[in-house]
């Protein structure tokens, strides 16, 4: 779906590369978690993926289309992006208008528009706010409306650039459930940028960025083996993984590394029934 070939990007000639000779690919329908400390190049990478930035060198293709001055507009429709900070994204006078805004230039019928907007707002649990002014919402509520705006456009790839940062734990969980739900009903590629490795655990694959490069790529279980190395680059494995590491040192061995609490408790239950 997305292929990077030796891509570099630098914001100005005097500073180093924010993304440095990066090659990687993301398959259609894959859920990628993109992690890395602040400043490691995640947002720059995301903006390259949807043509908000063009590479300084190297090539990028999205859905078979090679990114250039001529194609970035096409690519932006395929790759929707939900940003970190929703404050600046609002244009409509009501939540409903705001979510509909992105659809207005896409030639969607009025009927279809209402349907999509309602569905998108329900998915982020903001339907009851549909007639309110977006600027009266608190931060987390605004973010959910911004997410609905992208969902309504139904792009092929959605990038969430730390979109969960401002949500409370329930909101985070809802967002993750929303993504799971989306992937069940339609083909949808997800790039989920986060610092929270327990959220990254839900992805099919994790790409770890460091200093503008891909530092590691693998299934969550594989990546979480590297507790010390991750902590050296400013990251922290999920709490459950740390707790399991402590148990493991004291003689509790489970069949597979638990990623969530449920996996840990279920396996402990099996183990103890054999003891």
């Amino acid at each position: 779906m997305i292929v990077f070939n030796k891509v570099s990007y630098s914001y100005d000639k005097n500073s180093g590369n924010a993304v440095d000779e990066l090659s990687m690919s993301i398959e259609q329908n894959e859920w990628i978690a993109l992690i890395g400390h602040n400043g490691s190049g995640k947002s720059t990478l995301a903006k390259l993926m949807n043509g908000l930035l063009l590479p300084t060198s190297g090539t990028i293709s999205v859905d078979g289309l090679s990114l250039s001055e001529d194609t970035y507009w096409e690519i932006r429709k395929k790759v929707g992006m939900v940003f970190q900070n929703p404050e600046n994204q609002f244009v409509g006078t009501t939540v409903m208008d705001d979510v509909a805004f992105g659809l207005e230039n896409l030639g969607v019928t009025r009927e279809e528009m209402v349907k999509r907007v309602s569905a998108a707002l329900k998915e982020v649990d903001m339907y009851s706010f549909k007639d309110q002014a977006p600027n009266r919402l608190s931060g987390g509520q605004k973010q959910r409306v911004a997410i609905a705006g992208i969902l309504a456009i139904m792009p092929e790839v959605i990038i969430f650039d730390e979109a969960s940062t401002m949500l409370d734990p329930n909101g985070k969980q809802e967002l993750l459930e929303t993504i799971k739900g989306l992937r069940k009903t339609k083909k949808m590629t997800i790039v989920y940028i986060t610092h929270d490795l327990s959220e990254a655990a839900y992805a099919d694959r994790i790409i770890v960025m460091n200093e503008g490069r891909q530092w590691m790529s693998g299934k969550p279980r594989e990546v979480f083996q590297y507790q010390n190395e991750l902590s050296e680059i400013g990251l922290e494995i999920p709490l459950i993984s740390s707790i399991y590491a402590g148990m493991n040192e004291h003689g509790v061995k489970l069949e597979k590394e638990p990623l969530h609490m449920k996996e840990l408790v279920d396996q402990l239950w099996k183990l103890s029934s054999k003891m």
């Binding site: 509520q141 940062t165 949500l167 909101g171 902590s231």
Partner: protein
């Protein structure tokens, strides 16, 4: 400085079709030297409540007392002296940095409050050390700094006015795990060494458990629970009903008790110590 709320209501845009009651009959006390945490679903009124503490908002009815200072529905001209005593680091403080250099940004408060700017300047190295910034950032533009460093600049800008109370609205939102840990331990040391009263808003329940000594739970503008964090978090069901979780380690302890009957007590263990305790409890159970 003791902080007391007495029957505080707050209504946004009262007497208009958009009127919205964000605080309902809030009464609470934060004692001098407390480390208080406010938790609640998005929109529950946390930021609204905090804005009463330094007079950005005034109660629609009821009274807020901060030390000798009383905030009521009436305008009060001494608000500047209150703001000096009660420093606020807002949500996303980097949006408030606006001067060309870090130094100017930090000195904005002292200037604004009519403090001795030369003396404040003299204190800069100490403050920078406290917040963990190198002195060479002073002449740099705040916008060249990393997210974590910008938070520190914002905290430094508040500390330099020597407040008694430090209020932080989600100070670690958006920071990576290392940045978050550093800010949390900075707050800890301000609380312990400078005996500042700390008021924290956060969604990180494990930070509440680890750092605060009082937790206040807001729901739809009402204060629904308060107490020591460990006690408050014992009410898992009640919290869940209002959209809040409890720290993961407590969740795990509860589940192991329910499903396996493992008796584990939370005593502020580190994750790996907790793992060890679970292993021990398992083995003890197995030998039975």
């Amino acid at each position: 400085m003791e902080i007391v709320f007495e029957n505080v209501d707050f209504i946004y845009q009262p007497n208009s079709p958009f009127s919205h009651q964000a605080l309902k009959d809030i009464s609470l006390t934060i004692k001098d030297g407390d480390y208080a945490a406010f938790i609640g679903h998005t929109g529950s009124g946390k930021s609204t409540l905090l804005q009463h503490l330094n007079g950005i908002l005034r109660p629609t009815s009821g009274t807020v007392r901060i030390g000798d200072f009383e905030l009521t529905t009436k305008k009060n001209n001494e608000i500047k002296s209150l703001r000096r005593k009660v420093g606020v680091v807002f949500q996303y403080p980097e949006h408030q940095l606006f001067e060309e250099t870090v130094e100017k940004d930090i000195l904005f408060g002292p200037k604004n409050f009519g403090m001795d700017v030369e003396e404040a300047k003299h204190n800069l190295p100490t403050i920078l050390e406290e917040v963990g910034l190198p002195t060479d950032v002073l002449q740099r533009s705040p916008f060249e700094l990393s997210g974590g460093q910008m938070r520190r600049v914002a905290i430094a800008g508040v500390l330099i006015t020597e407040p008694n109370v430090l209020i932080l609205d989600e100070p670690t939102a958006g920071l990576d795990p290392r940045g978050r840990k550093q800010i949390m331990s900075l707050i800890d040391s301000l609380h312990k060494k400078k005996r500042m009263t700390i008021i924290l808003v956060t969604h990180h329940m494990e930070d509440v458990l680890r750092h605060a000594n009082q937790a206040f739970v807001l729901n739809k503008g009402e204060l629904v629970m308060q107490g020591e964090p460990v006690e408050v978090f014992q009410e898992e069901e009640r919290l869940r009903k209002i959209g809040l979780g409890i720290p993961e380690e407590l969740q795990l302890i509860n589940q192991l008790k329910q499903t396996l009957g493992l008796p584990i007590t939370y005593l502020h263990q580190s994750p790996s110590e907790l793992g060890k305790d679970i292993a021990k409890a398992l083995h003890a159970g197995g030998n039975r």
